[in-house]
Amino acid sequence: MTLTGFSRRRLITSGTLALGGLSLAGCDRLSRAPDFQDFIGRAQGLTLGSQRLLLSGQPLAREYARKDLSPVFKPNGSVSPSDPAYQAAAETGFTGWRLQVDGLVRRPFSLSLAQLKALPARTQITRHDCVEGWSAIGQWTGVQLGGLLRAAGLLPNARYVVFHCADDLGPARDGSDRYYESVDLFDAFHPQTILAYAMNGQPLAVAHGAPLRLRVERQLGYKQAKYVMRVEAVERLDNIGGGKGGYWEDRGYEWYAGI
């Protein structure tokens, strides 16, 4: 049997379209298959490993000038935590509030906001990159996390630092929607990793995470935990929250957000 050029071309075109439609449906199926998603998710390890190699000299993220500041820095995620204890603290200007530093440390302690502000401060103008794609530039002033951890004295088995926050991003009020984040010691001791209490020269606003938020400048926005109440040194992440090391990580996002 021979096909004329025309019908042969039509056959190929419709075949290609059908194949395209099938592969689209196939990719949607693969997007729902947990085993396949686990497999392609392993690329995260390759990304983390290669970035850690490239960043082994601990270079700083770019710091900008005041003229580069975003005219309006978009508040994102929680902008007003509903937790009653948090709201009560906010009403008093966080005068009775204290940051807890504990977990796998020799000397757990807590500090008031005034005590934190009395410690040596670092100010940096950096770019905040949201996982959605937008960026905003802001100036942050705060205490280096590394200094706090050294003061507390990490135990040898401490591998991660977990930030427990006051906000619930989801509707649940049983703690399962409570925001938290974590970094490993490589990022915890980076000079630009600070717990910031001021933004653009002003006390940190509630919409931006008052009284204290994390800045871990070489990662995306969801790592920059707001409303930090407690800093805990831990050995493993799988027994905290959903076990993936953070609120968004428990909802499918990568723990390493350097990309």
Binding site: L60, R62, P71, R127, E132, G252
Partner: protein, 309 residues
């Protein structure tokens, strides 16, 4: 051992020719068709080119679609270091009347507002009802809104693209494929030759005989642009979007004019690759889809000899 590719007639061609099935088709044909057609089969694509080509087809297609999923999380583009909701975008896809029965999809480019319902801003959701989204369901991976899964696909495939690309580039240099087959010859670069080649393309005429054994000059320009400019630009602008990589190579921010500029350039380069693919696939159909696709699978490529004209 890698086989010698017979793209250009060289001293070795005589040897190759003896191995190929050069033949003259002398079957009687319909009165209005060509009287006789000479047919010669040559070895056109090496195995590395063929394998990396098809891996690239899958990787680039899925990178594009997962990229549009990521784009849809914030379907705006900006220029400069920063850019968010309160800043002025270069391009914005949005919905007017979201939440009503008839939302209108709108795309704004540099101040020009276009109605793009059905394509950008608003398009059919799962049940066909209008849904507010940048690119439509059929263009994104996965089809539903899921940034985390889109990113997982994208970064997995980015590694596939980079590793596959490195294999292709190293092999292209080592085997002499780039020098022999992609670099335009001196005579091809003469303006008169380029103009004639453009005219041939406009008339959809394709070379036969000896000329068909090598890529024509526009084809070489297109491949060089994709291999050495567009795909590397995709990787470089993509890496500039990574806050981690930026700390390692802050000069990328200066090169592209900022992270948001890099994001815009990433989007533009992706569109140029789509444009290349559309022309490339159209040319495959015009030049003969079985022969062209077959040659990228088996390596064997049939050319019509001058005797057939």
């Amino acid at each position: 051992m890698l086989e010698r590719r017979g793209l250009r007639a060289g001293p070795k061609m005589g040897f190759r020719m003896n191995q190929t099935t050069a033949q003259i088709d002398v079957r009687p044909s319909a009165p209005h068709r060509r009287r006789a057609q000479g047919r010669e089969v040559i070895h056109r694509h090496g195995v590395v080119v063929r394998v990396t080509h098809w891996i690239n087809v899958v990787a680039v297609s899925l990178l594009l679609m997962s990229g549009l999923q990521i784009f849809n999380a914030h379907p705006n583009l900006y220029w400069g270091q920063y850019g968010a909701d309160f800043d002025r975008p270069l391009l914005e896809m949005r919905a007017v009347g979201a939440g009503t029965d008839h939302p209108v999809g709108v795309t704004e480019i540099a101040g020009h507002v276009l109605r793009t319902t059905g394509l950008f801003g608003v398009s059919g959701g799962r049940g066909g009802q209008p849904e507010v989204r940048g690119f439509p369901r059929w263009a994104t991976l996965p089809s539903w809104r899921d940034l985390a899964t889109g990113r997982r696909w994208h970064f997995f495939l980015a590694w596939v693209l980079v590793i596959n690309g490195l294999v292709y580039l190293l092999s292209g240099v080592a085997s002499g494929h780039f020098r022999r087959d992609l670099a335009p010859t001196r005579s091809q670069l003469r303006p008169s030759h380029i103009l004639r080649d453009i005219w041939d393309h406009v008339r959809l005429r394709h070379p036969t005989g000896e000329a068909a054994k090598s890529y024509n000059v526009l084809q070489k320009f297109a491949y060089i642009a994709v291999v050495f400019v567009l795909l590397p630009a995709m990787v470089a602008t993509g890496l500039t979007l990574s806050p981690g990589f930026d700390a390692f190579a802050p000069w990328l921010l200066d090169l592209f004019g900022g992270r948001q500029s890099a994001r815009t350039l990433h989007f533009i380069s992706a569109n140029l690759i789509v444009l290349f693919v559309l022309v490339h696939v159209a040319e495959v159909f015009i030049a003969g889809v079985f022969n062209e696709v077959g040659s990228m699978i088996t390596g064997r490529y049939a050319i019509r000899t001058e005797a057939g004209r």
